[in-house]
Amino acid sequence: MAEKNQIPLVSVFIMGKEYKVPSGLTLMKAMEYAGYRYTRGAGCRAGFCGACATIYRLKDDYRLKSALACQTTVDDGMYLVQLPFTPANKKKYDVEKLNIAHNVILKEYPEIARCISCNSCTKVCPQELKVMDYVQASLRGDIEKAAILSFDCVQCGLCAFRCPAEITQYHVGQLARRLNGKFVAPKAMHTEEAVAKLNSGITKKEISKLKVLKLAEIKDLYKKRVTE
């Protein structure tokens, strides 16, 4: 009976060495199952931080595939390696001193003019973003489009590894989003209003009331709280 309930094992090749791991594990869990211990490159384990960029190939398929190790499950015959860091020059700029002239991104990252539209960046993006399109939008000063298209970027850096023009796309997209937030998108008035409200001291009265309550009274209040 015990054997029957066992999860079937699949073969994965981590940096060329074969390991048998239970199917259904994420690439990250599979690496840990195989004995690897993460000191860097584990990140949030929830698909948000981009620290666990991984490239792999499947048997008999020429395509190089990509994934976030924490978000993708193992396939039988997978050859993989994790690339936890991308060496990339990041420009230092003060967004307050920039503007939205059509060549503002081009000035910070002139290498975007080297784009040959090969689309390798789009193909490799584990977030399935239209990376080439946002680089092209940046090239022609369409900051809003570049910001919207790159919005879900987790900065894993795989695009920069694949680019034959040596562009660091994820930094370009980040600049576009900063410029968009600063100069293009409408101001988030509700945030300003909320901050002003807090500064005016509307919470003071309630907090000073809480401060003098006994523990049992606080517990009681907590139980009776109204939630959304």
Binding site: I116, S117, D133, R140, D142
Partner: protein, 292 residues
């Protein structure tokens, strides 16, 4: 009639005025330029290396976008406003038409796109005006004849060279002159009309551009042109900024305005030309001279 339209980067930045005017002109003449939903840079220059695929990918992707939109609009045409984009797209397209093996290779390489079938026809806006609309039709729609205005149609090189992509006589082009005549303008003949403006040398060798601009502008001025008309954003830029430098250096004694053909068309064809006449007061003055 709706045409798939490829703007190119310049038309969205330094050449914005040309795009605004051209889209309006199209409406006035009864057709529409529909921008491709996504597009990339054209590639800037056509790479003459005989065996290079990578440098043609940009243009190829645009040809595929045109093929997709063309199915919807039931046309195989793709219109450009920029002469440089026209040149690159048309040369790449022609290269595929003449080399089916290269077309096959690029289709195999671009494995996430639909195959390009090689059937797109690249047209410059000027070509649409001349071949699909025609000077007669344009003449019939003139609201403000450009009488008294001496115009110098300047072609530059990207529309006419190499011969394989030229849509007009390479040495004595007449298409733009015919359209300007239809607007009632007096067209002058400048022997420098097909000379290069210096093109991208502006980035690395400004002096070379100034040499070109000086020869073109002097020939134009000695023939009494009030305005130089061009369909190309790069020519417009080089001739305008080049004249400014030449004037400051004392090499020319006045600067001739350089405007887009599309802008002159608006002035002549639209009831709503006041903004343009405000920007180009010399044209307004010339047109008023006519009244005496």
């Amino acid at each position: 009639m709706e045409y798939p339209y490829y703007p190119g980067c310049t038309l969205k930045t330094t050449g914005k005025k040309d795009e605004e005017a051209a889209l309006e002109v199209a409406k006035l003449l009864g057709f529409e330029l529909k921008e491709l939903p996504t597009w990339t840079c054209c590639g800037v220059v056509y790479n003459l290396t005989s065996d290079v695929m990578a440098d043609h990918l940009s243009a190829t992707r645009t040809l595929i976008r045109a093929q997709e939109m063309g199915r919807e609009l039931k046309t195989n045409k793709l219109v450009t406003l920029c002469s440089m984009c026209y040149n690159v797209l048309k040369q790449v397209n022609l290269m595929y038409k003449n080399n089916p093996d290269k077309l096959n290779n690029v289709n195999l390489f671009m494995d996430t796109e639909e195959d390009y079938l090689g059937n797109i026809e690249i047209m410059h806006f000027l070509e649409v005006l001349y071949n699909d609309i025609g000077p007669e039709m344009i003449k019939a729609k003139v609201k403000t004849p450009l009488t008294n205005l001496k115009v110098d149609p300047y072609y530059g090189c990207m529309l006419l060279r190499p011969k394989t992509i030229a849509f007009d006589d390479q040495d004595a082009p007449h298409v733009m002159g015919d359209i300007l005549s239809a607007l009632g303008a007096k067209v002058i003949e400048n022997p420098m009309t097909v000379e290069c403006c210096g093109a991208h040398q502006i980035i690395t060798n400004k002096e070379a551009v100034l040499d070109c601009v000086q020869r073109i502008v002097k020939a134009s001025q000695s023939r009494g042109a009030d305005v130089i008309v061009t369909p190309c954003p790069l020519c417009q830029y080089n001739l305008t900024t080049g004249q400014k430098s030449l004037f400051e250096k004392g090499k020319i004694n006045h600067q001739t305005p350089v405007i887009y053909l599309s802008e002159l068309l608006i002035i002549s064809l639209s009831d709503n030309n006041q903004d343009y006449l405000k920007d180009y007061k010399f044209i307004k003055d010339k047109l008023e001279e006519r009244g005496g």
